[in-house]
Symmetry: C2
Subunit: 155 residues, 2 copies
């Protein structure tokens, strides 16, 4: 989830509940090698974070298969200038998030994957934009190629 957020242009990931040391280490390694910045915060109380985000003028979008179809709301969400917090639940999501979200958005009404939902949401939010992101301080860079693996730099 964190790597998808980073690769599709999010500024960071805020993880509710306990901190996974493995995740922190992975993100450090990825940003050291492939560039940053990427904000990572864990051990956060989800409810208070959402309330504070809204109090500071931010917008909250909760991805759920029960929400409104992506294509019906994505233009409206894109046009809204407020900083966006995208809420993605790992397992059962409390009613609080459905209530507090400015939008409950369904990336399809079928059961699939939260990771996929986040990727497609971010891709539709700013189509193709992420493909041009320059990550600062990257030590490695892929050289696109029709066959095989070409990488510039090392890490």
């Amino acid at each position: 989830m964190a790597l998808v957020a980073r690769a599709f242009g999010a500024n960071g990931l805020v993880l509710e509940g306990i901190c996974d040391p493995g995740l922190g280490a992975t993100l450090e390694r990825v940003t050291r090698c492939w560039g940053g910045p990427f904000h990572y915060e864990c051990g956060v109380g989800g409810r208070s974070y959402v309330r504070e985000w809204k109090r500071r003028g931010g917008q909250v979008i909760h991805l759920t298969m029960y929400g409104l179809p992506l294509h019906r709301v994505i233009d409206e969400i894109r046009m809204d200038p407020r900083p966006k917090l995208v809420v993605v639940g790992a397992e059962k999501v409390e009613g609080f998030y459905y209530e507090e979200a400015d939008y409950n958005v369904a990336v399809g009404p079928q059961p699939h994957s939260e990771v996929a939902a986040l990727a497609v949401f971010l891709d539709r939010l700013l189509p193709g934009w992420w493909a041009g992101v320059e990550y600062e301080g990257a030590r490695m860079r892929v050289v696109p190629s029709p066959r095989g693996k070409r990488v510039e730099g090392e890490c």
Copy 2:
């Protein structure tokens, strides 16, 4: 991966190597409740499957961060009428697949998730098309709603 393939309009999933009984059961439950059809095959030899796919006139697309940028090849892939086999590696992918694929495609040149790559690839292949797929024999259906969860039927 299987649920993403299904939700974004793929006809099925072919899994190399050993069969995971849990996955088979999940897919049976999902297609029974949310509709089908969705082809599932496992315990398959990847190399022979790819060779046979091509021999029968199919096209092979391998998703890898080292490949050509999605936006540069997606129109060409879409226009090609051959049935498409999308190859997604779980871990290290053998050189064979890079060589045999008609296209090695990067859904971004950054490390992220194979699941996310598949979702975005399928979404870009036939943009928005998956949102209108009618799954046959569905016992349950989400009624999109701005708040909360509404489902018609039961399973």
